[in-house]
């Protein structure tokens, strides 16, 4: 199915937000990777048609942004922040745990296609590091125990209650 067939009304709504069509490019690329986790060439060509761009113009933008995947990634994309503030509180150790538990290093995917590990730059959660993002969710103040549970929960149920947010830290006092 093409994107237009699948997401027709959503595409129309996205286009209505901007006076210039090209602004809808990143939103449409997100749409294209919503299901499969990555953007196919066919989708880029279709988007070029919708926005009256050339396919190279779409490709040019798509290749600039780290969150737009042009290759398949695992069902769960684990992104551990390795920037300085997280490194000060142990992010390298977290990467080590995941390596040991899943047998993959940064840039690798498990053989069953379930987990991809990436070491990424700051995700704006520096006061609650070490932290990682898995797909849409943040997990903060990580300990080895938490990492174990997150990986196990994701594997068995596809989600984990340890995800964080709406974010406030320090947490507000509970009773006035």
């Amino acid at each position: 199915m093409t994107l237009s067939e699948k997401y027709g009304t959503e595409i129309a709504e996205i286009l209505s937000r901007y006076p210039v069509k090209r602004s809808a490019l990143i939103p449409l690329l997100y749409l294209a990777q919503r299901e499969g986790g990555y953007i196919t060439e066919a989708a880029m060509i279709e988007i070029a048609g919708i926005l009256k761009l050339t396919p190279p113009q779409v490709y040019e933008t798509a290749t600039f942004y780290t969150m737009l995947n042009l290759k398949p990634v695992g069902t769960f994309h684990i992104q551990v922040c390795k920037s300085l503030m997280c490194a000060l509180v142990g992010s390298d150790t977290v990467i080590g745990w995941i390596k040991a538990k899943l047998g993959i290093g940064p840039g690798e995917t498990t053989a069953d296609g379930l987990f991809t590990l990436t070491a990424v730059e700051c995700l704006a959660a520096c006061g609650t590091g070490p932290m990682m993002q898995i797909n849409d969710d943040y997990y903060e103040r990580l300990t080895e125990e938490k990492v174990d549970r997150i990986l196990a929960d994701l594997k068995s149920t596809g989600s984990c209650a340890l995800k964080t947010g709406p974010f406030m830290w320090p947490e507000p006092a509970r009773n006035g």
Binding site: R17, P19, V20, R22, S23, A24, L25, I26, P27, L29, Y30, L51, E60, T61, F64, Y65, T66, M67, L68, K82, S83, L84, M85, A87, L88, V89, E121, C122, L123, A124, A125, C126, G127, T128, G129, Q133, D136, D137, Y138, G165, P166, F167, M168, W169, P170, P172, A173, R174, N175, G176
Partner: protein, 441 residues
């Protein structure tokens, strides 16, 4: 008495609602605290130019990094221009060490939206885009929901509260690129292009989004507006370190402290107070070795600077900058060369590649730093580092160039001996290893 009892407390402004037990940030919750009152009192009642004057009078300066006076920036928009104008709310929050906008967005979205509509009214914009970093999936959802609620209640959209004023607001998600926090890269990205900063001038005030007059303001800057309107510019101007640094700041404390997190305090308290009182002091009561006062782009400072006041001018006089408000604290024992390398790796990864001093220079800097940290450095490396830094700073399209040399330049200045120690170790090891020097890279 414990340290906590001694701790000075200040009235929070931006974090006030969310500090109340049970506050969810929903529209009814926000309205109960007096939310959207500023909008009711301003739209159609006070002339847009007078709103700008109020903001100038308050002394509010941008919270995104550069600290430019907000009302003055609004005043740069051409007065007689008839076509569309735009407001962009910068919610890219990508400066390492900074995590305040995320909290403002996820916990009190209407405070930002009210600020956005007020700013739209002042500058005559009928469309606003919130450019939010792609990773903030939850934040984008919360904002979308809040916009929907505000639209239904008549605070956003066409003919707001029956005043004939239009202001629509949309969320636009970025997709993972630090540089898109730079205002002209943000505009390029919002236009569906690669996020490459534009050569300035012209400035966004005249040639911004779609080449139209545009204002870009940070989330925290905009969130201050309802309070300035409700309580008056004099009230705001009396907080902090007047006349140049007025109001509160949300400082984001990270690193080796007992209680990292966001603390809203008046500008002008000392780093010592922030680190030792609010953030609880050093983890394990170790000695402090260094701190970064304003995000990854700000030069490192030493314990000698703990009594510097946290306002724009005092931090600049100390040789650094207040920047984005991210304060990162490092304990005794942390290698400063390693820390500078970590940040250099960040900048190397994030350079957009548009101009050669930054694109090529960041690659050379990161290679040289890696070599030194891996104890394969050589005596000339320090000179190489200084030369590279001097040839990048001030010679690039955007301020990223000045930012990326800060960690190395400042650690070379204050902790040169640590670089030398690593190089001496490398040289000594090399003497034992009969390998031609040319091969060491």
């Amino acid at each position: 008495m414990s340290a906590i009892e001694h701790m000075p407390t200040y009235e929070p402004v931006l974090l006030k609602n969310m500090s109340q037990p049970g506050y969810t940030g929903s529209l009814p919750d926000y309205e109960k605290t007096g939310g959207y009152r500023a909008l009711r009192n301003i739209l159609g009642k006070v002339a847009p130019a007078d709103v700008t004057q109020l903001v100038i009078k308050s002394g509010l300066r941008g919270r995104g990094g550069a600290g430019f006076p907000t009302g003055v920036k609004w005043g740069f928009l051409p007065k007689d221009y008839q076509g569309p104008r735009y407001l962009c709310c910068n919610a890219d929050e990508s400066e390492p060490g900074t995590f305040k906008d995320r909290q403002l967005i996820e916990r009190d979205p209407h405070q930002i939206l009210e600020g956005i509509v007020l700013a739209c009214y002042a500058i005559g914009a009928e469309s606003a885009y919130i450019y939010i970093r792609g990773e903030f999936v939850l934040g984008a959802k919360i904002l979308e929901q809040a916009i929907g609620d505000a639209r239904a209640a008549g605070y956003i959209g066409k003919n707001i509260l029956g005043t004939g004023v239009h202001a629509d607001v949309w969320v636009h998600r970025g997709a993972g690129a630090y540089i898109c926090g730079e205002e002209t890269a943000l505009l390029e990205s919002l236009e569906g292009k690669r996020g490459l900063p534009r050569v300035k001038p012209p400035f966004p005030a005249t040639h911004g989004l779609y080449n139209k007059p545009t204002v870009v303001n940070n989330v925290e800057t905009l969130a201050n507006l309802p309070h300035i309107i409700n309580r008056g510019p004099e009230w705001f101007a009396a907080i902090g370190s007047p006349p140049k640094s007025t109001g509160t700041r949300i400082f984001c404390v990270s690193g080796h402290v007992k209680r990292p997190g966001n603390y809203e305090v008046p500008m002008g308290i000392t780093f010592r107070e922030l680190i030792y009182e609010h953030a609880g002091g050093m983890r394990g009561d170790k000695a402090i070795k260094a701190f970064i006062p304003g995000g990854a782009s700000a030069p490192f400072l030493t314990p000698d600077h703990l009594d510097v006041k946290m306002d724009f001018e005092s931090v600049a006089a100390a040789g650094s900058m207040l920047g984005s408000g991210g304060v990162t604290v490092m304990e005794e024992g942390t290698s400063m060369v390693w820390a500078a390398l970590r940040l250099m790796e960040f900048f190397y990864h994030e350079s957009c590649g548009k101009c050669s001093p930054c694109r090529e220079g960041s690659s050379w800097l990161v290679q040289t730093m890696r070599r030194i940290v891996a104890k394969r450095g050589r005596a000339q490396d320090l000179e190489t580092l200084s030369d590279l830094c001097k040839n990048i700073a001030g010679r690039t399209v955007c301020a990223f160039g000045d930012a990326e040399v800060s960690p190395i330049m400042s650690t070379l200045k204050h902790w040169r001996h640590e670089y030398l120690a690593l190089i001496h170790e490398a040289e000594a090891a090399h003497l034992l290893r009969p390998e031609p020097a040319a091969k060491r890279h």
